[in-house]
């Protein structure tokens, strides 16, 4: 979008259509087509194949299309193989974790950026260090602790762990967003008689609600797509999240019955696709911002 500006203003040296320019044009079209085929075709294949019967998997070529759009693979995946239950578990684990991450993380970002107290620089750095810690480093003590408290076999270990692991990035990102708000805004509200706490809830939080939404999206994908934490803390199929259920699927039916497996993958992909259709620009911006942490 920025390049058009100067190509329009300065058509200086050669304007003759050179053969090399035609070649370049064709090459770029070929490149676009190849790129899109590579990125999009596997997903198209996935969706088409999720309707195939077992017979079609065994006897027809991989690129062939399904003869009917029969939903029985989806029924097998969601009901018989329990992926429906797994999706529900994922929702139950994700929603409270997200709410806690946003509430606590935004409040902490506000405190660390707007308020003044001793040691806030050090605390912000401590949070930052958390972004570097590999999940493997905390799994075993946590497993031990949850086991001692007796909450293994429930979804609580997931909610607690997701809330904690989401904190560093959220605090850091929210602190960055609060940095952009002039302090005078909060001065003014305190002059009007609001306490600092009140200023946060009725002025600070609403002012960054756009950023809150972006951060929530980023964290949603981290939690929803997580495998490491989920597979560690869900021992039975009753508490398995959708990713764990999908992975176990291959063990149960998938090795022999491809239709239901592909339907299960498809459900997972289509759910994300719907979110992506509506929010893609925000998701792209959020994930890119979340990675620039240095």
């Amino acid at each position: 979008m920025t390049t058009t500006a100067f190509t329009d203003i300065r058509p200086i040296p050669k304007r003759i259509v050179h053969p090399s320019r035609v070649i370049a044009k064709v090459a770029s079209i070929v490149a676009i087509v190849v790129l899109l085929v590579i990125e999009v075709y596997p997903l198209f294949w996935l969706i088409m194949s999720s309707f195939k019967t077992q017979d079609e998997f065994l006897n027809a070529a991989a690129w062939s299309l399904p003869s009917t759009f029969d939903l029985s693979n989806y029924y097998d995946a969601l009901v018989t193989a329990n992926i429906g239950r797994n999706i529900l578990n994922s929702v139950i684990a994700t929603v409270p974790s997200l709410a806690l991450i946003i509430l606590f993380g935004t409040a902490a970002g506000f405190a660390l950026e707007v308020l003044v107290f001793r040691g806030r620089g050090a605390i912000l750095l401590t949070f930052l260090a958390g972004i570097m810690i590999p999940g493997q480093m905390i799994l075993l003590p946590l497993f031990n602790a949850y086991f001692q408290i007796g909450i293994t076999g429930t979804l609580w270990p997931l909610i607690i762990t997701y809330t904690a692991t989401g904190m560093p990035l959220t605090v850091f990102m929210m602190a960055t967003y609060f940095r952009a708000i002039p302090r005078e805004v909060f001065e003014a509200s305190t002059i009007d008689g609001a306490s600092m706490l009140r200023s946060f809830f009725s002025i600070g939080f609403p002012m960054v609600r756009n950023a809150v939404f972006t951060v929530a999206l980023v964290q949603f994908f981290f939690i929803w797509n997580d495998l490491l934490i989920a597979i560690t803390f869900t021992s039975s199929s009753d508490t398995a999240t959708v990713q764990v259920g999908l992975l176990n699927f291959t063990g149960q039916y998938g090795a022999t019955r491809f239709g239901p497996l592909l339907a299960a993958i498809c459900v997972n992909v289509i759910g994300i696709l719907i979110i992506y259709l509506f929010l893609n620009q925000r998701i792209m911006r959020g994930l890119a911002a979340g990675s620039v942490k240095g």
């Binding site: 790129l35 902490a108 107290f117 570097m132 075993l140 904690a164 797509n225 491809f258 997972n268 990675s291």
Partner: protein
């Protein structure tokens, strides 16, 4: 940060101790209790062997010595480093090519193509892994990849029966998943380069490869650096892709440190040794990050 320090009378408004405790408290407590304490406690585990179910036994530095003599540690460390190197280099290279493509070749279509190519980034790795297992399948029917190989006259390959080819399937899958992300990240960096710099370089006769090598590339070094650090840190921790695609096999031919640690702790019930492997992984992440950061610093000041 600066403005209020000059005005001490306002400082008192922001020096609200009670508000600070209420707002910061919950996040700090949960972060310390659920992340920092476990990190320290995991370090403590390295002196023990056993699990919560069978009980722990103090073994001193045995785990550390065992680490150095464990063939499986060396092979999984080798896999992790090889994978991290190959994927990081290709991820950044492809991402950078994409970003240049978005900026200089695609103009009106740029947003659409960027959005499409980015999509796999948000997909669950497990779903993508299982999908790629089917794409590279040989039984019961050739998957798409083997069909294409067959179309060009090649023999269908049993991709997952050989650690060498399985490695490349994991690499290809992760590139497919992530190149759109690095494309967007690096594209944002390219947009930060002021138009007039590129414009005046063009007026001076720079074009094509020369323009990119001498003007664009040096100016995108900072964003390339942060992408490299991000990429290396992610690839050193590879877990989901491998677990979903090959489960570490054949044998332990595609087992990274993360998966070996997981198996040690949960399949063999040795939390002490598992923690020792996790510690090794953390140290490697830190060392590599610091190393990249420092060596690039030197280069930047030289150039």
């Amino acid at each position: 940060m600066g403005s209020f320090q000059k005005a001490p009378h306002v400082k008192s408004v922001f020096a609200d101790r009670k508000a600070a405790i209420i707002l910061l408290g919950p996040a700090l407590v949960i972060y310390v209790v659920v992340m920092l304490v476990p990190v320290l406690s995991s370090l403590g585990y390295t002196f023990y062997t056993g699990s919560p179910i069978n009980g722990f036994r103090f073994t001193g530095f045995d785990n550390i010595t065992r680490l150095f003599h464990d063939k499986d540690v060396w092979s999984s460390l080798g896999f992790t480093l090889r994978y991290a190197l190959v994927v990081s280099v290709l991820q950044i290279a492809l991402g950078y090519l994409l970003s240049l493509f978005y900026l200089f070749v695609l103009k009106r279509l740029s947003t659409l193509v960027r959005t499409l190519v980015f999509f796999p980034v948000v997909l669950p790795t497990v779903a993508v892994g299982l999908l790629f297992q089917r794409l590279f399948a040989i039984v019961p029917q050739n998957g798409i990849v083997n069909s294409v190989v067959g179309f060009f006259g090649g023999d269908a390959l049993s991709w997952f029966n050989d650690a060498g080819t399985a490695f490349w399937v994991i690499v290809i899958m992760d590139l497919w998943r992530s190149m759109g992300f690095y494309g967007v990240l690096l594209y944002a960096g390219l947009l930060d380069i002021p138009d007039d710099i590129i414009e005046s370089a063009k007026l001076d006769g720079a074009s094509g490869i020369g323009l990119i090598r001498h003007i664009v590339l040096p100016l995108s070094l900072p964003v390339l650096l942060s992408s490299i650090i991000f990429s290396v840190n992610g690839t050193l921790k590879v877990f989901d892709s491998v677990l979903a695609l090959t489960n570490g096999g054949p044998g332990n031919g595609t087992t990274p440190l993360t998966l070996y640690m997981f198996q040690t702790a949960f399949s063999y019930g040795d939390y002490g040794y598992g923690s020792t492997i996790a510690f090794l992984l953390t140290v490697i992440c830190l060392v590599v990050t610091v190393f990249i950061f420092r060596s690039s610093r030197r280069d930047l000041t030289k150039g």
